[in-house]
């Protein structure tokens, strides 16, 4: 008995550390589409991180790999030249290399902008919900005003002031979606602020920062992970839309949205120029959304199926499973009861 207790005691902290491996295991077991999404996400990160190795063009001391122009071979069609697999664009740059470096830009925008969004919306949302009162009332009026502007319109307006650029777009995307997202974080914290353990912590004399960090943040973490994975795709699309309009990442950089915009001018000469960046965008955003969806299903207990499901065949299957578990547990239960009776 004592050895069993000891193993239990050592097992528990180990289980907490294994949260992520557990999650991945369940993903592979329960969500096939989520795995496809995960593969696409991993692919984006792999291509993004190892872009210099994967790209056929190599950077020289004067020109970056995505900007090497071959004047003699412009508008090459895809799959006709072994050196340029997906053809070349109006300046004779390799489309494939540009796509690969575009993945790097998209990855960068998605990760940094989404992190900024999450941090900002957490700071505003948690502070508003926790302190409440006047502070909340005033800050929320600003958020009210902010969400009255259509998202894309805010982005266009601010980008037109700060000018196109990689850093600018990341900051603008992160800040403007962070302010809008704080409303949801606030409602989340409202849900747990009234819990007994918060009052208990306050009664013991814990500081507000401590309570927010130790008690509130861990409790909304699953939802934060869901929002993170759900927002990344939107960030990539927003960046692409802005670059398409000429307000995002400026011209020589290989942004996928900007590449589509460039291709519009030359659609009769090289119809492939609009095609490939769009395919890349769709695949990446599709993968991120698929993965995010599966993650939400795994992390959000409200969406899990089970006894609540109304379908009779499913209910019967669950009842069967429960009955079988009960049968299996019977001998042990009887043993326990016998042991108690002896005492």
């Amino acid at each position: 008995m004592s050895t069993a207790q000891a193993t239990n005691a050592t097992k528990k902290p180990a289980k907490r550390l294994n949260f992520f491996t557990d999650l991945i295991k369940r993903l592979f077991k329960e969500k096939v589409m989520g795995v496809i999404g995960l593969v696409l996400v991993v692919l984006l990160f792999f291509v993004g991180i190892f872009a210099p190795l994967l790209s056929p063009e190599k950077s020289t001391t004067t020109t970056s790999a995505w900007n090497i122009a071959h004047q003699e071979s412009r508008f090459l069609a895809p799959f006709t030249n072994s050196k340029f697999i997906l053809g070349t664009d109006q300046l004779g740059r390799d489309v494939f290399s540009r796509l690969i470096y575009g993945a790097r830009l998209s990855m960068y925008v998605a990760v940094v902008a989404t992190s900024m969004q999450i941090v900002l919306s957490l700071v505003i949302g948690v502070a508003c919900a926790y302190f409440g009162g006047w502070f909340d009332l005033i800050i929320q009026r600003f958020v009210d005003a902010w969400i009255c502007f259509p998202y894309l319109v805010i982005l266009i307006t601010i980008m037109s002031i700060v000018g196109p650029g990689v850093v600018q777009i990341v900051v603008v995307l992160g800040v403007s979606s962070g302010i809008g997202g704080s409303r949801f974080m606030r409602s989340l914290v409202f849900g747990i602020r009234e819990n007994q353990y918060i009052y208990a912590s306050q009664a013991v004399g814990a500081r507000s920062g401590h309570i927010m960090w130790r008690h509130i943040l861990p409790n909304i973490m699953p939802v934060v992970i869901i929002i993170f994975s759900g927002s990344m795709g939107g960030m990539i699309l927003a960046e692409a839309s802005l670059s398409f309009l000429g307000l995002g990442i400026p011209a020589p950089f290989p942004s996928w949205g900007g590449m589509i915009n460039d291709g519009r001018t030359y659609m009769l000469l090289a119809p492939g120029l609009i095609f490939w960046p769009g395919v890349a965008l769709t695949l990446v955003v599709f993968g991120i959304n698929m993965f995010g969806d599966a993650l939400r299903d795994l992390l959000d207990p409200r969406l899990r199926g089970g006894l609540g499901s109304y379908r009779l065949d499913k209910g019967e299957a669950i009842a069967k499973k429960l009955r079988a578990q009960l049968e299996a547990a019977k001998p042990r239960l009887e043993q326990d009861i016998a042991g108690l009776n002896k005492k």
Partner: protein
């Protein structure tokens, strides 16, 4: 209900004040180089012999940019009460005049794409939920996630480009067709464009409808309805769908701003003389009075819309107004 409505309407006031404040800040951030831009174009005109040379200081004075900020703010907001939302620095046409011809275009586009989006998505979402984890559910969900992933500006560009490239004819005209001139041509043009916009929004609506429906289907009253022996048709349509549509409608209300954002891109690609394209032109020309006036009108319109959806929601769901 009346107390809630009054409270909700009173909250409009500080929001509008903050909106004007934010826009005024933006308005003051831009002028620096717009003045030099205009000065440059005026001197260019002067070279042609049309007008006299104008210094940047004179332009500043003409626009009232040399006055203290609080007077500028007062003049600017004061204009709203007189129906003056700004005049273009380049063309001299007021925003109100432009609105008269451009608003119908954007409205037709938004309303049509909203209808297409809803008609195609809500039934699919409901069906996906009542047959959860079946093949159709998986297909529907995959398609909806896919639709959310496809950039609509890419599809629009492809719709413009590829028929011309491969079949030497275009599906949708690149120039705006007025309804008065050619009703069928106008409807076809807007149908194609709204379809592209609607497909994008319907991806989101399918998912929202499905999630809401799943939540409703797990409620006690649905179990009661089943145990009464009601048919599936009655349970789904009389009990579940009605309760699902309430939150869905409010969320769709929240999508209206997004429609205006989408219209900006679509009007740009398809050359429609709507509000979105007007806004983009103003942005590229740094026509800051038009940018801020446009933003003000748009945000107030959306604010009113948000308040009305809130009120409608409170009307159907009494729990909200007693908070």
């Amino acid at each position: 209900m009346r107390a809630y409505a009054i409270r909700r309407f009173l909250l409009i006031i500080p929001t509008v004040v903050i909106i004007t404040g934010l826009l005024f800040l933006v308005l003051r951030l831009i002028p620096g180089d717009v003045v030099t831009m205009i000065a440059a174009s005026r001197t260019w005109q002067q070279e042609l012999g049309t007008t006299e040379a104008v210094s940047t200081d004179e332009i500043r004075h003409a626009f009232g940019l040399d006055k203290p900020w609080y007077i500028q703010y007062r003049d600017w907001v004061g204009g709203f009460f007189k129906g003056d939302f700004g005049t273009s620095l380049w063309t001299g046409v007021t925003l109100t005049d432009e609105l008269k011809t451009r608003l119908p275009v954007t409205l037709e586009l938004s309303v049509m794409s909203l209808i297409i989006g809803l008609v195609s998505s809500v039934p699919l979402g409901i069906y996906s939920a009542i047959r959860q984890d079946t093949l159709l559910d998986y297909t529907g969900r995959t398609i909806s996630i896919f639709l959310l992933a496809v950039p609509n500006f890419w599809i629009a560009t492809a719709v413009v480009a590829y028929p011309v490239v491969f079949w030497h004819r275009s599906i949708v005209p690149i120039e705006y067709i007025a309804f008065a001139k050619n009703p069928l041509g106008n409807l076809w043009q807007f149908f194609v464009i709204s379809f592209i916009m609607g497909a994008f929004t319907s991806g989101g609506t399918v998912r929202i409808t499905r999630t809401m429906m799943l939540e409703v289907l797990r409620q006690d009253y649905i179990r009661t309805a089943w145990s009464k022996g009601l048919s599936e048709k009655l349970v789904v349509f009389r009990h579940a769908v009605k309760n699902t549509l309430i939150p869905v409608v409010t969320i769709i209300g929240g999508m209206i701003p997004g429609l205006f954002g989408g219209a900006v891109i679509m009007e740009q690609i398809f050359n429609l003389p709507g509000l979105g394209r007007y806004f983009l032109t103003a942005v590229t020309q740094r026509d800051y009075l038009i940018i801020s006036g446009w933003n003000f009108l748009m945000s107030v319109f959306i604010l009113i819309f948000i308040v009305l959806t809130d009120l409608a929601y409170a009307y159907v769901d009494p729990r909200i107004r007693y908070k």
